[in-house]
Symmetry: C2
Subunit: 114 residues, 2 copies
């Protein structure tokens, strides 16, 4: 059974919902890291880190490679593109320069143009 786009988005958003996982992604943006590295960085046990990595991998937000006993994690930001794209559609609703009426009109026009 193929994962739907909505499922994928849900998986990504729920992966991002945990502050430790977001911090792990930030860490991996700086440098790849082993499970031990991350365990040293965060105040949780290694099994806890391991499961966070599993969640991130399942969301395709990281990839992992094994070099001997060490498994290093690497950031894979592609799913964030989809998440950003989903959120972007609401930009007009939070942009301060537009009031709510303008936002509504912009939405209508955007829909009509297509």
């Amino acid at each position: 059974m193929p994962a739907t786009a909505a499922d994928q988005l849900s998986t990504v958003f729920s992966a991002l919902a945990d502050p430790t996982r977001r911090a792990i992604l930030a860490e991996l943006a700086d440098h790849n890291a082993t499970v031990s590295d991350l365990t040293a960085t965060f105040p949780i046990s290694m099994p806890a880190v391991s499961r966070h990595l599993k969640v991130l991998e399942h969301a395709s937000l990281i990839s992992r490679s094994q070099q001997g006993r060490w498994r290093t994690s690497q950031l894979e930001a592609a799913p964030l593109r989809d998440a950003a794209a989903w959120i972007e559609r609401y930009r007009r609703y939070w942009d301060a320069s537009l009031d709510r009426l303008d936002a509504h009109l912009a939405a209508i026009q955007a829909a009509d143009r297509r």
Copy 2:
């Protein structure tokens, strides 16, 4: 005790993790809606809708107003700005070329200039 920025982000992301809630936000982007409206739109019970709205309200993604017996929900997209800002920091990791990053930054600046 003040909610930290990280907590707020977590709340928003976890609110977005549910496909029904994302669909509710999409619905509210088109038009404000009562609980009954949303219950008619989605294949879940009214109490389920009511609780989704509670979650969205707690994440400040909607605001609610009471007019007689009807409680209409309105999209409040401001928290999405923070979510987008968090994700944006990773754009360079998913953008193929730095040129496109530059283009994006230029586009953002152009938008801000308005």
